[in-house]
């Protein structure tokens, strides 16, 4: 290989890593949410968004189903449900 290899910024979005999920996926119940944004902060994929209370959701195209959002949610408003 010769010279530098350049890739476009943010082009990793082409990888739909959501297909990696094998067991479970997060379900955002949107009932007791207080919009603390902890789920957004701890998502390793950065695929959770939302602004108002009870408006948070994730992009299943990228979610790998690690479950950190469900385990951090102080209101237990995210639960892991079986895939499928």
């Amino acid at each position: 290989m010769f010279g530098p290899i350049v890739a476009k910024p943010g082009s990793s979005r082409k990888n739909k890593t959501g297909s990696w999920r094998t067991e479970s996926k997060p379900k955002f119940l949107q009932t007791n949410c207080i919009a603390c944004r902890l789920c957004v902060l701890v998502c390793p994929e950065g695929c959770i968004e939302g602004l108002e209370k009870n408006s948070f959701h994730c992009d299943y195209d990228y979610c790998k189903g690690c479950g950190n959002c469900a385990s951090i949610c102080p209101k237990k408003d995210i639960e892991m449900v079986p895939e499928g």
Binding site: P4, I5, A7, K8, P9, G10, S11, S12, R13, K14, N15, K16, T17, W20, R21, L41, V42, C43, P44, E45, G46, C47, E49, H57, C58, D59, Y60, D61, Y62, K64, G65, C66, G67, N68, A70, S71, I72, M80
Partner: protein
């Protein structure tokens, strides 16, 4: 869901394992640093999973050269920016942040000479170590930052071994010995604290070092949903003290109410062999106690 409005400088679609602490830390760091940043990256997990050719997860100028030389590459970038700044009227160049980042192997072992040179020259660069406590990318080999008694593929636990026989290299102290302006430790377990430290470091002019504890579900052997909790337990047991130095003076510590080290060790497969061994457990508790004493981590009684 399409048409996502998520604005991050570290895009989704990177190929880190589910629950990867390092990918989480990388996003927190770059979003705190902002778009006016240039990053040089050593070889490591982060480099591999964020820039799988022909794709990149980064939304800022990012360069990888070799395993050992991110600090040298960043030094060149900083020197070029300084030259351009002096020889032109482009004042905005002064506001560009340069980051040299690496894993623990790239920082504490392989990249240490370039890093030491960069600190010695006093260049205005933030060096970041994503400390997942082994060479996870190549198959969990022991590094200088692997903690005492951790079982790795090159320090396996067995009938004659309790895993890694040496204690973690005191890299923040090595950084401090260079007389640099800012040295701190952080963790993904306290994301707001981590982002505050990144912003603080960037606001200071000179060489800075930030070491971030990033749990690795694959290498440490725990359920991927526990990344955040394990990171917090490392701090709460006293095994990973969060400290902040300015010009070598301890300016801040994260106070804790210490938990027994077993709580941190138990969920991890790399410590499975010592969980029923009181003698080895007491040695690890001793490391935590030393940290608690040294940094005065416990809140005053009351």
């Amino acid at each position: 869901m399409s048409g996502s409005q998520i604005k991050s400088l570290f895009a989704s679609g990177h190929t880190a394992c589910a629950g990867c602490g390092q990918s989480l830390a990388a996003r927190l760091v770059i979003d705190a640093a902002g778009p006016n940043t240039i990053v040089a990256n050593n070889t490591g997990c982060l480099e591999v999973f964020s820039t799988k050719y022909p794709e990149s997860a980064w939304g800022i100028p990012w360069i990888h050269s070799l395993f050992e030389n991110a600090a040298a590459v960043a030094s060149g970038i900083e020197a070029a920016l300084r030259f351009l700044e002096e020889s032109s009227s482009k004042k905005r160049l002064r506001d560009i942040t340069v980051i040299a980042q690496a894993g623990d192997g790239g920082t504490a072992d392989i990249g240490l000479q370039a890093l030491s040179g960069m600190w010695e020259r006093g260049q205005n660069i933030l060096s970041i170590c994503y400390d997942n406590e082994a060479y996870e990318n190549t198959g969990i080999q022991r590094s200088g930052l692997t903690p005492y008694d951790a079982s790795t593929t090159t320090s396996p636990a067995g009938s004659r071994s309790f895993g890694n026989p040496r204690i973690k290299k005191p890299l923040p102290e090595i950084a401090n010995a260079h007389g640099i302006i800012y040295v701190a430790t952080a963790t993904v377990g306290f994301p707001q604290d981590l982002q505050r430290k990144v912003k603080k470091a960037i606001s200071l002019k000179g060489p800075k070092y930030l070491q971030i504890h990033v749990p690795c579900p694959l290498g440490w052997g725990y359920a991927s949903s526990l990344t955040y909790q394990i990171a917090r337990l490392a701090v709460q047991t006293g095994l990973y003290p969060l400290v902040e130095y300015e010009n070598g003076v301890l300016k801040g510590v994260f106070k804790i109410s210490p938990k027994p080290v077993e709580e941190y060790l138990k969920p991890q497969r790399r410590f499975k062999h010592i969980i029923n061994n009181p003698e080895e457990l007491s040695k690890i508790q001793e490391i935590a106690n030393d940290n608690i004493k040294k940094y005065n981590l416990v809140t005053a009684a009351g």
